[in-house]
Subunit: 234 residues, 2 copies
């Protein structure tokens, strides 16, 4: 059977490369300041060819958001359903989120800085995806409050503190100084002791996590594998 | 004596108004996408007149940064020297910072999103001011570690957690839901219990703060009064 026009074997790889180059340009110079001409030059494509792969500059911005959110949400769904204590699931979410921030800084910068440039359906989908992620984290905090691990706090305010702590990391994180694993350990120790009924309860959090990791045989808990999958998926 | 040309009594008020309008435009549409023509239209000034007040679009961006950082630093200097426990000084800094974020959202959005658009001397000064603020917060954490209130942590990583928690707030804060005072209480309770040697130590933090506020007769501890002063200063 003939392939659909223009969707040859290299189509998705080329598309993924265009998204990566756009993330780099938008991250460095801003979305508004990056012209289609500049995108054409950086990708070595004529305008018509660029549109063939991507559709529009706006669609490109939506793709960058999706390239972060789709694997993040997939990994978060897996983690939030694991049969372990809510604080351990939050600890795994923390590390997964920080891994994505650490390894996809360009994408994250665009997602954080250019969110208001998304419009219409793209904006609606983006807000929906963020809300889903927020709801998962809120629910894990509610669970830890119900089971008496955390104090009687507003689970939404716990969720906002969780994302404050993690999401701002992209503003200062530079490769080499602190790893995502070290930051996840520090952030979660602060947050969980901060929320805990009894702060000594979390003295063994990292040990519990190690025991779980050693016994776990399920799918990857990192968002990075999926990041590549999503970026290459047709 | 004649006034210097163009620096009549309305000069500084007009200048302040131009900075405010620019912050609003840059916040909504981005720095790169906001043209000088648009600034002229929004301020009802011809290009020559705009340059007379401000100099350049780049200078305008530097003014917006300064309008946030100058009063913030002044208030932070006052607070960090108060003769009270380091955690109480951090608690006051927290509230002051959140007040500025709450009341100057447009300016803060520009400062956070367009930081990489600053260049040369402006960039150098901006980095220097941020570093001074960071150093004050690092030193307060080091003090709380030295006096045995906080655990043996890396004071720089404590500082980064403090700013993560506070600075990301602008991304979701909308007027009416949570006040800066409520957020400061929640953030500091989480962070300090998180860092504490003994988390019960902070059960009376808000009470201690109330006692201090009732007895305090010094200069304002908010950055907002100074904000207006700086914006109107010649």
């Amino acid at each position: 059977m003939p392939r659909p026009t223009g969707h040859g074997p290299g189509y998705e790889a080329r598309r993924r490369e265009i998204i990566r180059i756009a993330a780099e340009l938008f991250s460095r110079n801003g979305y508004a300041a990056t012209g289609v001409a500049e995108l054409c030059q950086a990708t070595d494509l004529a305008k018509g060819a660029l549109y063939h792969y991507i559709g529009s500059k706006q669609a490109l911005l939506a793709e960058i958001h999706g390239a972060v959110m789709t694997p993040l949400l997939a990994a978060a769904e897996r983690i939030s359903k694991l049969p372990i204590a809510p604080e351990l699931r939050l600890r795994l979410l923390s590390q997964m989120l920080l891994e994505v921030i650490e390894h996809r800084l360009d994408y994250i910068r665009v997602v954080e800085h250019e969110i208001d440039r998304l419009a219409g359906e793209n904006r609606k989908r983006m807000l929906h995806e963020r809300r889903r992620f927020e709801d998962m984290v809120t629910e894990l905090h509610a669970e830890a409050i119900r089971d008496g691990t955390f104090r009687e706090l507003d689970p939404r305010l716990c969720m906002l503190q969780f994302f404050n702590m993690h999401n701002y990391t992209f503003q200062w994180l530079r490769p080499g100084r602190w790893s995502s694993a070290q930051l996840a350990e520090q952030y979660c120790t602060t947050l969980f002791r901060g929320h805990a009924v009894d702060s000594n309860r979390f003295a063994s959090l990292e040990e519990q996590l190690g025991t779980f990791r050693a016994s776990y045989t399920g799918e990857s808990l990192s968002g990075l594998g999926d990041f590549e999958e999503v970026a290459t998926a047709s």
